[in-house]
């Protein structure tokens, strides 16, 4: 009989494989396809990518691959199952993260029902950033990391953190979050020399472990430089503050409400390190929507004991009756496998949102599209995958393109005063943009440009020779 953690894993895994999640995870932005394409290139060439192969704007420029290992994993999944493979891999990682979170809350001695409700609430709050992209590995890594940091605080082995960091630094650029968590506990231990020494050793080991990646010290430096660019951080939608009027904010709002009421009502006593984690990560989550999943994963183990103490005897007795089964993995694995084999697989992104028809047109008239393209930023990743023979103007690798090129892209897309000069500077010969893009309206007024294709989603304009 499976345990509740195992059931939770199965439910999350199957829900994510079902519609609309399996399509949403690959179709929310173009980055799922972009990472697949980058990973594919590395498998084909049997080397880690070091120079750009996909754009005409920065062709051959040095690339700092922040997530080469997860790009490889996504490429393997993509080769095995296409877009469905990407969704399945992401579903596996996400379901495992939240099942492990639940297991950990239960192991910590929290009430089973409280742990389950809190894990489900955490999943609700975090689901706004569930996509088939490398950042899902950061969810998993952060869970291990936080657990291990607390163990090191209590006398655990610091080198385990370094091992986690080696893996994390090669999987996703979010490894910096680990240092923020470690830093909070380090500051919290400043009056306790023994704890401070253990955490300092861990920090030094982890700082060394970060260098064990194909780009050495350049990788953390590159990430920090990116975060220092006010323009890029403000421009990228996922770095923006959550829109609290949107439906996807409701889970996070519910989490904040539970956190506030639990703290005010139960008045728990936290260590200084735990308090710093709570305050700093709540602030980070309010600042950037992409930090919300990390915040709930970090705060759930702190919140669960507070709520567990608050429940009554009758609730506790009912919880204990649910604590049956432990070794149900064969049953769960069999059911998951059945789901994996039975679920219909998406082979293409939704035609009503992605330029699938336009790509077919370009493929059918390849000779007409020899020159350089200007494409929509969000579509860039998709085009890398769907039109590998064409080089894009821009795609989701914002850190690689840098502030200057993104400003040029904005000048054209937003029709700023220098838009035509920028198009000419990059010698753009054709554009592929959403139907409502302003640039289409402007190009329609210029005799040198002709509409070559139009459908409900995309419009192609071509410059006459």
């Amino acid at each position: 009989m499976p345990s509740l953690s195992q059931w939770l894993w199965l439910v999350l895994f199957l829900v994510l494989l079902a519609q609309p999640w399996r399509t949403m995870m690959v179709a929310s932005d173009g980055d799922a396809c972009m990472h697949w394409r980058v990973g594919d290139w590395m498998i084909e060439q049997r080397q880690i990518i070091h120079h750009d192969e996909f754009s005409h704007t920065r062709a051959g420029a040095p690339v700092i691959s922040k997530e080469w290992l997860s790009a490889l994993l996504f490429a393997v999944a993509g080769r095995a199952g296409g877009l469905f493979g990407l969704s399945a891999l992401a579903a596996l990682v996400i379901a495992t993260t939240f099942a492990l979170l639940h297991g950990r809350l239960v192991r910590d001695g929290n009430d089973l029902l409280v742990a389950t409700a809190l894990t489900l609430l955490a999943a609700w709050a975090a689901c706004m950033h569930w996509m088939a992209r490398p950042h899902v590995f950061s969810f998993l890594m952060l869970l291990f990391w936080h657990d291990q940091v607390r163990r090191v605080e209590r006398g655990g082995k610091p080198w385990v953190l370094a091992v986690i960091m080696v893996l994390w630094v090669n999987l996703h650029g979010g490894f910096l979050a680990g240092f923020f968590v470690l830093g909070a506990y380090w500051l919290g231990a400043i009056r306790d020399p023994a704890r401070l020494r253990r955490l300092s050793i861990a920090a030094l080991l982890c700082a060394a472990a970060v260098l064990l990646n194909p780009n050495g010290w350049r990788l953390p430096w590159h990430n920090l430089q990116f975060l220092r660019s006010e323009f890029l951080v403000n421009w990228l939608a996922e770095y923006a503050t959550m829109d609290f009027q949107s439906r996807e904010a409701r889970g996070f709002l519910a989490w904040l409400a539970v956190l506030f009421v639990a703290l005010a009502w139960r008045r728990p006593r936290f260590t200084a390190g735990e308090s710093l984690v709570l305050i700093s990560w709540t602030a980070f989550a309010l600042y950037s929507r992409r930090n919300i999943p990390l915040m709930v994963i970090l705060t759930a183990p702190l919140l669960a004991p507070v709520l567990s103490e608050a429940v009554g005897e009758r609730w506790r007795a009912f919880s204990q009756r649910l604590a049956v089964g432990k070794r149900g993995w064969p049953v769960v694995a069999a059911l998951a496998l059945a789901g994996l084999l039975c679920v219909p697989r998406p082979t293409e992104l939704p035609r009503e949102r992605w330029p699938v028809g336009a790509v077919e047109h370009i493929r059918g008239h390849a000779t007409e599209f020899g020159g350089r393209m200007f494409n929509d930023y969000v579509w860039g990743g998709y085009l890398l995958r769907a039109l590998p023979e064409q080089r894009v103007f821009v795609d989701g690798r914002t850190d690689f393109y840098g502030e200057s090129l993104i400003r040029d892209y904005c000048a054209v897309a937003e029709l700023k005063t220098n838009w035509l000069a920028v198009l000419e500077r990059y010698d753009v010969e054709w554009t592929l943009l959403p139907r409502r893009a302003r640039l289409n309206q402007a190009l329609a007024e210029i005799p040198r440009w002709r509409c070559a294709y139009t459908d409900e989603v995309a419009v192609i304009y071509r410059r006459l020779p």
Binding site: V233, M242, A257, V261, R436, R438
Partner: protein, 482 residues
Amino acid sequence: MNTRHWWMPSLRVAVWLVFFVALACSPWRAQLVSRDGDAALHWKLGAWMLEHREVIRVDSFSHTHPQGAVISKEWLSELFWGAAGEALGWNGLVLLAALLIATTLFLLQRQLEAEGSDALTATMLTLLAAWTCSMHWLARPHLATHLLVVVFNWQLRAFQQGRLSGRALFAWLVPLMALWANVHGAFPIGLTLIGLYLLGNIGKRPEQVRNMKLLAGLLAACAAATLLNPNGWKLHGIILHYLRHSQFVGGVNEFLSPNFHASNTWGFAAQWLLLAVILLGIRSRWERVDLVLVAAWGYFALHSVRNLPIFALVATPIVAEHLRHRLPLVWQRVAADISRINLVADGTIWMLASLGVVAAFQPCTKPMTEVFPVRAVQFLKQHPESVRGRMFNPDHWGSYLLLEMPEHPVFMDSRHEFYGMKLVRDYLQVMRGDPGWLETLKRYQVNWTLMPARHPLNQLLSLRGDWRRVYADQNAVIFVQD
């Protein structure tokens, strides 16, 4: 017994003086009238009502909705803004705004001291609240709402803590609610506050039952009092209609969710940091009403950035109460010394004197040329022949234009609820350059545009042979159809 010194300003008078003089005389005064166009709109509407000696009921400022029925949400405060503008120009608006802001902070500090905070803590918390509120300091009727929030919350807290009788609460709040319904459209905030106190009192204990009955009665009486306005229940209808349609609300910056990348939300963040210190460090017991108030207004503030000041004004007395007995010893000692001096200080005379001095010697206020098309308007006044027919303009300039160029009715101003959803949709289509933008301009028979210099519509028009640019500066461009 200590005698009060009329010449020595107390800390709260000092706070009033600093904010009143700084807002009225520093470069901030230009921001009060320039951060959006509504200051000009309310001046214009108030001036029209003063001139015609009647409440405005039909529009005469736009060409897209001429003679459309107007339901004025804030006619009474518009009279004051109109009178101030007609008497002293932009300086008059600044003076009135500075007076309202400084008085709001003065009352907040007075409330904190009345509830038992020492003068130093009350001053510091008032300054923190001012930091949060400053993101919405504009010369507009909503400043009256800020002031009334403090008065309502003060009286409701006094009642909750047993310092004010139910009869006195009715006597204060019911007439004030009638006033609120006439000075600003955000009067439902008052009803919400009473509702939240009611929610916090739900329970079976005798005092809870008594409070519930009284607050329910107060809520009903205040709701009835809001009907005492020139438009009766139609005022409530238009406010509900406005708030329910994201097409209106979604286009207005102040109704959007706060952006924590922007520095104007840092005061709010600092207040939450202080709350976090109380929750995690002080760990004092929370009253249910306080819990409900902070949770509800915290949510409203995250929902709409215009609620940030309301959160600050409601949460500050709660923060003060939790801090009162847990301050560091050094702080308590300094606060006690300051309180001794503060107790004998008065200084009301300084407030009156500064009013007169500032009114007499206030530097001239002009709207910011980088915000409004000041030079373009001057050009149009000097060369009226350069444009003819109907104008297209951005809504945030509409109010400035209807004040400065009444001879050219606007396409749109910030009164989205007045223009209606269809017109707002058409306006947005042109502003975004969506397919069909040109047909929409033709449908409204637009002959010329006055747009921000970097707006993409200028780029689209410059590519067309039948439109030509007749004026351009750093801030604005005028295109005319041939």
